[in-house]
């Protein structure tokens, strides 16, 4: 069964930033050599931090639990290399979280190179018998493996898969849009490891009891669509092509584009009977359930004019950003801005000792020439931001209210529905930092209601 | 503006002296520019100097008479009735002023039209009765009213000067601008009143803020 209509579907508003996928879309995933040390952050997800369970100077093997999740909404972290635990330290993650990390110095036998790649994506993925696995078993495996949403939200997967006695879920959407410019990690994953992705999707559906599974892929990834369509029918999974438009990969927009369901403001896709899962998360779930392997590595893109050899890398969690960049040939002389994630929603970082986390989908390195030299000017109320806002808000009004400290006013313009996708600031002819101002307003409003 | 004054308690203290009241009324607490009181006549009758000055004279007469009168009867006032008494006192003097104007300056009386009776509701007068007249003696009340009248004169005079010179090229009806200079008719019309007062107020605010800014630098 394939997607009923071959016409690309999409959502209202949005923007068309330059796609810039050419940097690494045709570069196969490369395994990064085991680094001398990694630093495992104890908080890589949305929720409570883990408690460290290994003492300094203890020896750990790949996949050993380093931090245990003790709160309901939390996820354990595991050693991503074999080695010796060092004294705890702190690190500021790209998203601004200041967390305790457990450094591990490499020692002993390491799983490396092709063997590591095969452990992740190669080998056999049994298609039969998936329906016999108990949902609880899947949820437990996801919890033990420390699975979190790998598209960036980093919400613990076992919590998402066990929504409790709420409305029944009928559809699982697998998010393969990767609408952020520059990033190609998900595309490579779909092209190289379609089977684990789809098996994982099947497991997600099994866990939540959904009958229908749809993979959503943007039209600008024909090879990925072809590969997924080759494998999907075997598993009864539909592959839906959506228009190439940003932010196609945002949950609510994807749900609308593929299913024409509108997620009410302040609610989750769950409330309309949908669970959305990123392709990388699905692949990791397949590995966790069928191979019992925890989440220790992830695929990330390092691309942009600012790196010498743009690549897609399979990296251990806790790798320093600088080492990931070195693996991609290092920074060029005119590199100006390093962004953890894609350029639309990613966070700029300047201190490159920060560790890679489960949610780091890539590093975009912009050169000076990629950056805009236009100065900020006064808002001329042209309404461009209104035209592009996928949430149908009035970004300029919220931002202006935030600038003048009129928090209630900002709230009355539905500031809290903003998903910070960046369309408004991308389209703004006056180059106002709209998203930043809206985030200020959101933070303030959250504080006021707290 | 007037609200704050109306809410003030009928305090027992003696307050500023007559001289202080007089001086304060002229510039530091200028009714037009500092307290923004009596805006209606400031806008309505300032198209030219003559009606403006007539207005000031009528207002001054009422202000002084009412303030002194209120001061004389201040010990008889009951708090909840005082505003009513003030208003009726003022209304009486306004009627007198109106009749005097009609008798001796008929053209002016016609020109000012309803704005003479509207003196009754001029906030300056109620504010002065409330702040000074109802609390201090007749002499202080007189000084206070006189000072505020002078302040009102400055306010109306400056607005009227700007409007008459720009709008008609005259001052007190005497030509001051050569005929080649174009007349800005807008200045003698309602929008001109608002704009002239707005800019004069801005000028005063700017001047007030100036020394402070210097001290900072």
């Amino acid at each position: 069964m394939s997607w009923p209509s071959r016409r690309a579907r999409t959502f209202p508003h949005g923007v068309h930033p330059p796609e810039e996928k050419q940097f690494a879309r045709d570069v196969p995933i490369e395994v990064v050599p085991t680094p001398a040390a990694v630093a495992i952050p104890l908080l890589q997800h949305l929720g409570a931090p883990c408690q460290a369970v290994v003492a300094s100077r203890a020896t750990v093997a790949l996949g050993d639990v380093v931090g245990r999740a003790e709160a309901p909404v939390s996820a354990p972290v595991h050693a991503s290399i074999a080695g010796v635990v060092q004294r705890e330290s702190v690190a500021t993650l790209p998203n601004g979280r200041h967390v305790t990390t457990v450094p591990i110095k490499a020692a002993g036998e390491q799983l490396e190179g092709q063997a590591l790649y095969d452990a992740h994506f190669g080998g056999d993925w049994p298609l039969a018998g998936l329906d016999e696995i108990a949902p609880a078993e899947i949820v437990a495996a996801a919890g033990e493996a420390g699975l979190v949403g790998m598209g960036g939200a980093a919400f613990p997967t076992h919590v998402k898969l066990a929504p409790g006695p709420r409305r029944p879920v009928d559809t699982v959407l697998v998010n393969g849009c990767e609408c952020e410019p520059y990033l190609t990690a998900d595309e490579r994953l779909m092209r190289e490891a379609a089977l684990p992705v789809l098996v994982g999707a099947k497991l997600v559906a099994r866990a939540v009891g959904a009958k229908r599974i749809v993979v959503g892929i943007e039209a600008n990834k024909p090879e990925a669509i072809a590969e997924m369509r080759r494998v999907a029918p075997e598993l009864g999974i539909e592959v839906g092509v959506v228009a190439t438009k940003y932010p196609q990969g945002a949950e609510k927009q994807l749900v609308y584009a593929l299913l024409q369901r509108i997620v009410p403001g302040g609610k989750l896709p769950l409330d309309v009977g949908v669970v959305v899962s990123n392709v990388a998360t699905a692949a990791a779930l397949a590995r966790a359930v069928l191979r019992g392997a925890p989440l220790t590595h992830r695929v990330m893109t390092v691309a942009g004019h600012g790196v010498r050899e743009p690549k897609n890398l399979l990296v251990p969690i806790g790798l320093r950003l600088s080492e990931a960049i070195e693996a991609a040939g290092g920074l060029t002389d005119d590199a100006a801005r390093v962004i953890a994630g894609g350029p639309m929603m990613g966070f700029s970082v300047a201190y490159l000792d920060a560790p890679v986390t489960k949610g780091t989908s890539g590093l975009t390195v912009l050169a000076a020439r990629d950056l805009d030299a236009e100065p900020e000017r006064a808002c001329v109320r042209c309404g461009r931001c209104v035209d592009v806002c996928p949430m149908g808000l009035l970004p300029t009004r919220i931002a202006l209210a935030a600038r003048y400290g009129e928090w209630e006013l900002a709230g009355s313009y539905h500031a809290r529905l903003c998903v910070e996708c960046g369309c408004c600031a991308f389209a703004c002819p006056s180059r106002l930092p709209l998203v930043q101002l809206i985030r200020v307003a959101k933070a303030r409003l959250a504080k006021m209601t707290a | 503006m007037a609200v704050a004054e109306l809410e003030l308690p009928a305090a027992v203290d003696d307050g500023p002296t007559a001289a202080e009241r007089f001086i304060a009324g002229i510039l530091p607490e200028n009714p037009t520019f500092r307290q923004l009181l009596g805006m209606c006549p400031t806008l309505a009758v300032t198209a030219a100097m003559k009606p403006a000055l007539t207005m000031v004279a009528a207002t001054a007469f009422v202000l002084i008479s009412a303030n002194v009168m209120v001061s004389l009867i201040r010990h008889l006032l009951k708090p909840h009735l005082r505003i009513l008494v003030f208003t009726l006192t003022i209304a009486t003097f306004v009627t007198i002023a109106d009749r005097l104007l009609a008798a001796y300056l008929y053209p002016m009386s016609v020109a000012l039209g309803p704005y003479v009776p509207l003196i009754i509701v001029n906030c300056i007068i109620i504010a002065r009765c409330e702040v000074c007249g109802s609390k201090q003696g007749p002499f202080t009340a007189f000084a206070d009213a006189a000072g505020n009248s002078l302040g009102f004169l400055i306010g109306l005079g400056s607005v009227a000067t700007v409007r008459e010179i720009l709008g008609m090229g005259t001052w007190f009806g005497l030509p001051v601008l050569p005929a080649v200079v174009p007349r800005w008719v807008i200045m003698v019309m309602p929008p001109g009143a608002f704009i002239a007062l707005a800019l004069l107020l801005a000028l005063v605010n700017w001047y007030q803020a100036r020394p402070k800014r210097r001290a900072e630098v």
Binding site: N95, G96, H98, G249, S348, V349, R403, Q436, A446 | -
Partner: protein, 304 residues
């Protein structure tokens, strides 16, 4: 005077009298019919308050605060602009005995000037602390002052300024209203009772381990606990000493503790005006704003 004039005057007076009687009767009836009881103290408290409607007390305006005070159960000391004089007046109206207390002032828990902060990076974006606080790596220390002056803009009294990259309080102007405490996104300003002209303060907010502090600041507190051993009102909270100002003894000799500090984290701040120290006829100040050292950059959800 002719009879006609007399008659006219009589008629006029009669009309006015009639009006007055009718009006008076209607209003008198309405006064009883529409009577709404009001606590007379509300009016008096309203008069005693400054009427600035600044909202520092946490109520919508002076009027609402007055009602809350009159209703009882609300502290009399919430009016920052009014100061001790207003507290005294309110106490007199409410018939409460005034107690001894101290003027409150703010302290900035960061003293590192620009050159002392490490890992600073050029920042392009909205030039306010609150906005910059949402961007990673503006500077290495995620606790310390960002120096973009949100507190300076929030201050009504021109009493706090960013000097060489760090906020410095001008204690000759500070009234302790606490606007800057609310404005600081990093929560490094606290509001404490000043028991002497100059009191000791911890001039650092970094709660990390010593090595991590050294990596981002040349003068930050490394959490060695030396001062806590030497002065009883200094207690360690995690890796940072905190002064308990309720137990603060003005006469205590803090010099050994200060000498022992390997960083430069114990500083003397303040000089409240003598006027404030004299006019101490107020009850205990219950609102004590503690610095939160709140650095969380992103309270909002993360999405993909």
């Amino acid at each position: 005077m002719t009879g006609e004039t007399m008659a006219l005057v009589g008629l006029g007076s009669g009309v006015m009298l009639l009006l007055a009687v009718v009006g008076g009767a209607v209003l008198g009836w309405a006064d009883r019919r529409f009577f709404v009881p009001v606590d007379p103290r509300v009016e008096r408290i309203n008069r005693a308050l400054p009427g600035a409607n600044c909202g520092n007390c946490g109520f919508v305006g002076c009027g609402e605060y007055a009602e809350a005070v009159a209703a009882g159960g609300t502290a009399l000391t919430l009016c920052a602009p009014g100061g001790p004089a207003v507290v005294g007046a309110l106490a007199a109206i409410m018939g409460v005995e005034a107690e001894q207390t101290w003027p409150y002032r703010v302290i900035v828990h960061c003293t590192a000037t620009t050159g002392m902060r490490l890992r600073r990076h050029p920042y392009q974006g909205e030039p306010t602390c609150t906005a910059a606080n949402l961007v990673t790596d503006v500077q290495g220390c995620i606790y310390g002052c960002l120096g973009l002056g949100d507190c300076e803009r929030a201050c009504t009294y021109d009493a706090i300024h960013v000097v060489d990259g760090v906020a410095v309080v001008d204690y000759t102007k500070c009234t302790g209203c606490g606007d800057c405490v609310d404005a600081c996104p990093r929560g490094i300003i606290s509001r404490v009772p000043f028991k002497t002209d100059r009191i000791l303060a911890v001039g650092c907010a970094n709660q990390d381990f010593g090595n991590d502090v050294k990596a981002v600041c040349t003068i930050g507190c490394i959490g060695c606990k030396a001062c806590a051993k030497l002065a009883p009102s200094l207690v360690m909270k995690g890796n940072l000493p905190v002064i308990d100002y309720d137990k603060y003894e003005p006469g205590f000799d803090f010099l050994p503790a200060i000498d022992k500090c390997p960083a430069e984290s114990l500083v003397w701040v303040g000089t409240p005006s003598p006027k404030d120290l004299e006019a101490l006829a107020d009850v205990e100040m219950p609102v004590r704003a503690e610095a939160t050292f709140d650095t969380t950059v992103d309270q909002t959800e993360w999405r993909g």
